[in-house]
């Protein structure tokens, strides 16, 4: 079996691979322990599609420029200030050099996908998406002589005297003990552990769907926090969006998202509206609905549209329920018919004439309705009518390990001598709240490279 490597990398997604490749290129021997079997390798990275990249001028597929201050402002807006400015600015500055480095490791970019024009300046899309990126990195890792073990679950990192003394893992059902000279943990958050989510959020979390990998169960994170290493991020919070209620429990990924909310009314299981569906434009509106639906009875909502709006948003993977009457639609969705009819009638009566504009806030608002719909308020009156069930889909959790600018994990007596962290497991240091499209991959790439370089310097 594999001898002890210089550096053990825990995790097999983007951050782990960036760390492993960087460390190996600095001549350290590296072993990657990926908890998932090979077909599911790559953690949540396999579901991603782009990374947000600072650039001073047109660069590859990125148009115009996207400077540090604008990037940081965008981050401030979504986090409401819950970020570490120094770490965040460093991440942003170093995102620019990632573009070429990623290409050199085999990642290929493509112009922003149809339906994502708003991101063409800020986000570089991976050709084929995140799994293609992960494949390219594994190819490079293989070529460099990095050892990879799949089905390799790390159970315990023994923390003693300010350093990680050894690592216990189970590989293919066999117990293994490693004594590497340095460890990089890049094993993601804990969102796939529903019990932990329920402890943190409350029993409602049992009705949440997990958008990404079922392998991010936070085993390593909990193990390290239990041993007194420092945490960042709100332990009770997760990032959730409203997704198609028929999505699988895990791994539904991008195709389960629903962009129809602004053109709809959203009701709860009692057939009542509960929030302004026309509040803002994509992607802001997209992120708030997970939380809103989570607060409704049984954590379920229903977006109702009519024939006029069906072609205005990206298709979902599941066809909508449809009927020629609102009552018929209610029956199909299992909603109380008379309540839904009354809600739709009240909404229709509150709609005012005006110019509808699907791609920007058009001010077409309801009058005298509570809650109001402040944009895109058109009567739902053209059959057939369509309905989608919505449920909260958890993307990631915020709780993580506290790191410094060298990605070193912080313990009770200062930095841990031989432990670095990258990716979702430390992203809470920078992203304390909300989400900025493509920023998770930026954090993973920047900190993965830093962690790999620092760990390699430590063992050199």
């Amino acid at each position: 079996m594999t001898p002890d490597p210089d550096i053990l990398v825990v995790g097999g997604g983007n951050a782990a691979l960036c760390a492993a490749i960087t460390a190996r290129q600095a001549d350290a021997s590296v072993l990657i322990l990926e908890a998932a079997p090979k077909p599911y390798r790559g953690g949540n990275s396999r579901h991603t599609r782009n990374f947000r990249c600072m650039h001073a001028g047109p660069m590859g597929v990125l148009s115009d420029s996207y400077g540090e201050d604008e990037y940081f402002d965008d981050l401030l807006k979504v986090t409401g200030g819950k970020t570490d400015e120094a770490l965040a600015r460093m991440t942003i500055r170093r995102s620019e050099e990632c573009y070429d480095w990623m290409q050199a490791q085999g990642v290929r970019f493509q112009p922003s996908l149809s339906g994502t024009l708003s991101l063409s300046r800020t986000n570089a899309f991976f050709l084929g998406g995140g799994k293609a990126l992960v494949n390219a990195y594994y190819r490079t890792a293989e070529r460099l002589g990095i050892a990879v073990a799949y089905d390799a679950q790390v159970r315990h990192l023994a923390f003693a005297d300010g350093r990680i003394a050894h690592v216990e893992a189970e590989i293919d059902g066999q117990s293994r003990r490693f004594t590497p000279r340095a460890v990089v943990v890049a094993s993601g958050g804990f969102q796939a552990d529903i019990d932990w989510l329920a402890d943190a959020w409350g029993p409602a979390a049992r009705n949440f769907l997990i958008r990404g990998t079922p392998y991010n169960r936070g085993v390593v994170l909990r193990d390290l926090l239990d041993q007194g290493l420092h945490s960042v991020g709100d332990p009770t919070q997760c990032h959730a969006v409203a997704i198609d209620g028929r999505a699988p429990q895990y791994d539904g990924g991008i195709v389960t998202r629903l962009d129809c909310v602004p053109f709809s009314i959203v009701v709860n299981k009692d057939g009542e509206r509960f929030y302004d569906e026309g509040e803002d434009v994509w992607p802001k509106r997209y992120a708030i609905w997970g939380r809103l639906v989570a607060a409704q009875p049984d954590q379920v909502g229903y977006a109702i549209i009519d024939a006029k709006s069906l072609d205005l948003f990206m298709p979902s993977v599941f066809p909508p329920a449809s009927a020629d009457t609102i009552g018929g639609l209610a029956q199909q969705l299992g909603l109380p018919g008379s309540e839904l009819e009354a809600t739709v009638a009240a909404f229709n009566a509150a709609c005012r004439p005006g110019v509808f504009h699907p791609t920007e806030r058009d001010g077409l608002a309801t009058d005298g309705l509570e809650p109001p719909k402040t944009n895109w308020a058109r009567p739902i009156d053209t059959p057939p009518f369509y309905g989608y069930a919505l449920r909260p889909g958890v993307t990631f959790t915020y709780l993580g390990l506290k790191v410094d600018a060298t990605a070193r994990v912080q313990g009770p007596e200062g930095p841990v001598d031989n432990l670095w962290a990258a990716g979702e497991i430390m992203a809470g240091s920078i992203l304390g709240q909300g989400y900025l499209a493509g920023f998770g991959m930026t954090i993973g790439t920047v900190f993965g490279r830093i962690a790999g370089k620092e760990a390699a310097a430590h063992v050199a």
Binding site: G129, K131, N135, I254
Partner: protein, 364 residues
Amino acid sequence: MLHETTQEARRQIEICNACRYCEGYCAVFPAIARARAFADGDIAHLANLCHNCRGCYYACQYTPPHDFAVNLPRVLAEARHQSWADHSWPRGFAPLFDRWGGAIAAVLVLALALIFALAQALRPETGEGFYAHMSHGLMVAIFAPAFVVPLVALAVSLRRYWRAVGGGRPRLADLRAALVSAGRMSNLSGGHGEGCNFEDEDRFSNARRLYHQAVLYGFLLCFAATSSGTVLHYGFDLPAPYPLFSLPKLFGLPGGVLMCIGAAGLAWLKTRADRGLGHPGLWHGEMGFVLLLFAVAATGLALYAATDHPAAGPLLSLHLGTVLTLFLLTPYSKMAHGFYRMAALMREAELQRQVDVSKADLSA
């Protein structure tokens, strides 16, 4: 006609349309993104547009064991094959599509037997080169109908296909676009020019693209050789055999060599590629077709090498037998893919032109 294959292809294409991560790989995904609903003709069009580069399979987060079980290269290969059978004419020959390997073997045996028998029975008393073994008149009597009749059948089939996918009046500009795409095999470039994921899982390589072009251009050169020979024969009263520095030889020799290299390469790649990402039931038939192409080229070259040698007689029969098999099966074998592919590329050019026009209308 409602096919399970078409239904399954539709299910997977709708998943792709909700994802769109693969838009950069080839023409199939931008074509998917144009629509929300997919009629049977749309599925046939997408299936024939797919070059089976497999980039999307290895990039896909929904491949088995995921519940969504997406395997687009395979289901489109199955739908493609289905569309050829559906539109083939005469209808009675459609079952050949399910028995490619057997059909090639059976027709080959019959063609060889026929040619050998005719060469034996009607051996000319005089004649130079291969005409010493079979007269020009007899060759024309066999091959003119063997060439023309299958092409007529194919033309009828393509017409039916063109109607099913909703194609309009064919335009020269669309033909040009299709020729450029096929000439460069753009859809096997992977979008980044590094090729496809065929013989070694997710590693990109241009091997298949290059071997395919060797076969394609080799075949065209061989075709040019035969055509130039015909022109020389009838137009200039210059019958075969031709010297090395003559059009038929200058086209035919490199053509034959290219075909041999390309077909051997494709056969080798095929042994390495994952059979589960194509139509698994057709593997042997496709392999048989590639080997038939190799045999056509190799026997042609051998025949030239054996000029004035006693082996020339049997080699001529071998060569003519393989060529006859290739011709006869053109509408009902893998050979048809080139014609359907050209139709799909033309239809795609037409659809893109219509999108461009409607965009221009909007901005006007």
